[in-house]
Amino acid sequence: MHLVKKIEIIANSFELSKILDGLDKSGVHGHAVIRNVAGKGLRGMAEDLDMTMLDNVYIIAFCMPEQIKPVVENIRPLLNKFGGTCYISDVMEIRSVKCVASL
């Protein structure tokens, strides 16, 4: 097992493609997306979900520690413009044939 970084982003669903592009540009090509996330942030409730298209997505991406810097640079402007939050933490990856750290 070895250390990798976990990126968690919660944002409005319309930002999704922009954020995934941002991750991709930063060299983070793997991700998982959970849709239909309700929530409350600084811009008020996102409760109507798919009715008013104001629902959130929860994006998880695991990457190598050195990729964090470009990710921050690419994602921060999006958060500043459209809202949403991004957090980074440490996790250990179980080595498998194809894993983040083996790339």
């Binding site: 319309f14 811009r43 008020g44 109507d48 979900l49 798919d50 009715m51 008013t52």
Partner: protein
């Protein structure tokens, strides 16, 4: 006034409107009733599909006459005029971003209000033309563009860079407009033959699905009502008076170009209604500075219920007076 009262009553005693009330009541008494996602989205896709298809089939019957073109022109006109004049009213109390976003919301339309009005007409046995669906489709997008131009003109950092490509895409290719127009075209292409095979699905279930959908709309609208406290009396009055005004202008225009009574009602409803789906989505993307709870809540928690319950019969009353 008696006639008007009657119309309101016969409107209110319709299943769709009563289920809308039921939805609102559920929220007020804190019942845990909810229509789980993505069912509301499915129902709204169905309604757009069915109304678009029907409109297309009827359009091929009527043909594209001068009447049709005049109606579409009037629709276009109102879709551009409403966001401009309301913007200046809203600017009296709000900043440019919020004013433009709300103006765009009211310049656009609510397909569900239109559909509810058409169901009401069907019940009263009043005819309306299939090409009104084309007007519906046509009125959804222009306000988004007008709103953005207003933001561009009235904010200090004059040269705001809009991703125009993205904006136009959002305006003209968002899922409601796309599905509505697509279904309309397909209805037009397949005509009577396509209609017959799809009829049990698009016609038979239509009223029931609308009823069920309005139950959900009641839930959504009522949940939004608590947002209204922060909105203030100015916006709430706006959200009731402007629809009436717009409907009035719409009716005069309709009379002028000689629409039928049924078409005139639908046109008035289009002018009076505000968008709570397409425009909010576009505005969050393009004017993120505006506060979504302002434009969503006024459209959804005030204007929508007002139109469904009072507006539709009220505008019909107006038609009774004007067309007499």
């Amino acid at each position: 006034m008696d006639m008007n009262g009657n119309l309101i009553m016969s409107n209110i005693l319709n299943p769709p409107v009563l289920f809308f009330f039921l939805g609102m009541t559920a929220v007020f008494v804190k019942s845990d009733l909810e229509i789980p996602a993505p069912v509301p989205k499915l129902l709204s896709l169905y309604l757009l599909f069915a109304i678009g298809f029907k409109g297309g089939v009827e359009l091929i019957k009527s043909g594209v006459t001068q009447e049709v073109l005049l109606t579409l022109l009037a629709a276009m006109l109102m879709a551009c005029f409403v966001p401009i004049y309301t913007f200046f009213i809203l600017k009296l109390k709000l900043d440019t971003y919020d004013a433009a976003a709300i103006a765009a919301t009211y310049g656009s339309i609510s397909a569900v209000t239109f559909i509810t009005a058409s169901a009401f007409l069907t019940e009263l046995g009043m005819d309306f033309d299939g090409y009104m669906v084309a007007a519906l489709a046509l009125m959804e997008s222009p306000a988004i563009i007008v709103g953005l131009i207003l933001v561009n003109l009235f904010t200090v950092d004059g040269k705001r860079e809009f991703a125009w490509k993205e904006v136009l895409q959002e305006a003209f290719l968002n899922s409601s407009v796309f599905l509505l127009v697509g279904s309309l075209v397909i209805g037009f292409l397949t005509g009577e033959h396509g209609w017959q095979v799809l009829e049990p699905f698009t016609q038979g279930m239509f009223y029931g699905v609308l009823t069920f959908f309005l139950l959900d709309m009641g839930l959504v609208a009522a949940r939004r009502i608590k947002d209204l406290q922060k909105t203030g009396i100015f916006l709430i009055s706006f959200a009731i008076l402007i629809p009436i005004l717009n409907a009035g202008i719409g009716l005069l225009l309709a009379k002028l170009i000689g629409m039928s009574q049924g078409d005139a009602l639908l046109f008035a409803v289009l002018c009076a209604s505000a968008s709570y789906i397409a425009v909010p989505a576009a505005m969050r993307l393009t004017v993120p500075e505006a506060n979504p709870s302002l434009y969503v809540s006024t459209a959804l928690a005030v204007t929508f219920p007002f139109n469904i319950i009072v507006g539709i019969p009220l505008y019909l009353y107006g038609i009774n007076l004007l067309w007499r």
